[in-house]
Amino acid sequence: MHELSIVSSVVDTVTETVAAYPGARVKEVRLRVGALASVVVDSLEFCWGIATEGTALEGSRLVVNVLPVVMHCVPCGKDVELEGVQSFRCPKCGEPCLDLRQGRELEIDSIEIDEMDEAEEKI
């Protein structure tokens, strides 16, 4: 439900970042979103067009990389990937898992920009 405020925050951060590259155009913004981040990817995409309008991000593409939940299983002695978020048990040995290693991420991974070359700038 707070997808629009998340998207606005992304737009602000990217706008600040690209200010260091005068004349640059943002082509793509890549997010990393954990399966437990309680964010609906469709809603992020839905908000993107509206939120980027009139900013340096206008016309850019939003790419969301959804990360599965990874827990550390003590009996198995290693990190295991859960198939979903309906059961927090090790898929290998069935033991309950408490130690979350991945799945709550909500971050801007990277952006792809088209930078003007110096020669072009002079024209």
Binding site: M1, S38, P96
Partner: protein
């Protein structure tokens, strides 16, 4: 034109996380146990807190509450009847409390200093989705679930249930008329957050409330012990 990839690796809620970390340090230094109560609308947070504040005060504990509400101050008025200091946080349509709102309302709260409190309760906005992403620096996140809202709530809102430290089942006095499946509920909570402490309660009959107060006492003592360790 040159295409360039700029790595950011930046948390979108970083500002909230930083503010929450600072709040957590303040709570620890003050020796106050802070609890963030979350649930769907109407699960019984205010009723549960009314009972808790009143009873803790009777036993000599120093308590206060912050209450988030979209538009009204009804809950704040209900809680204030317990005699505890209560401060309303009107979120004006925002569906969750965040660390900045908490910080602002702690500062300049007349007559209330964190150091003079044993417990600070925060009633979040009734919503099982958004509050799960916003750390308030709390020591314990309590998720409430009433017997009238379905045994599969934990499976529908896994983020909230997985991020909570304790679960409170409310309105147990209505369990029979509602055909509440106790076993299925306990199992579902345990699937999402294995081993989580669960209290089965009713503010009408008082069932389970003594166990809840015992838990509060236990947790506060455990933390203050740890707090003293750091002070030395």
């Amino acid at each position: 034109m040159t295409t360039r990839i700029v790595e950011l690796r930046r948390g979108i809620l970083k500002k909230n996380d930083e503010l929450a970390a600072a709040l957590r340090e303040r709570y620890t230094a003050a020796g106050v146990l802070v609890l963030n109560l979350v649930s769907s609308p109407g699960a019984g947070k205010t009723a549960f807190l009314e009972w808790t504040l009143t009873e803790l005060r009777k036993r000599g504990a120093r308590v206060a509450a912050l209450v988030g509400d979209l538009e009204t101050d009804n809950d704040a008025r209900r809680l204030a009847a317990s005699g505890a200091p209560v401060r309303q946080i009107n979120t004006h349509g925002i569906c969750h409390l965040d660390a900045e709102m908490i910080g602002k309302h702690l500062d300049g709260w007349e007559g209330v200093a964190l150091g003079g409190l044993d417990y600070l309760f925060i009633e979040n906005v009734g919503n099982l989705v958004c509050p799960s992403s916003y750390d308030l620096g709390e020591g314990i996140r309590v998720v409430l679930l009433s017997v009238t809202e379905g045994e599969d709530k934990p499976l529908k809102y896994p983020t909230m249930f997985n991020s909570a430290d304790a679960a409170v089942i409310t309105k147990m006095d209505l369990a029979v008329p509602c055909g509440f499946d106790r076993w299925a509920t306990l199992k579902n909570i345990n699937e999402i957050r294995p081993g989580m402490r669960i209290f089965e309660t009713s503010v009408k009959s008082g069932v389970g409330m003594e166990a809840w107060l015992g838990y509060l006492e236990e947790e506060r003592k455990a933390r203050n012990g740890a707090g003293r360790f750091w002070v030395i």
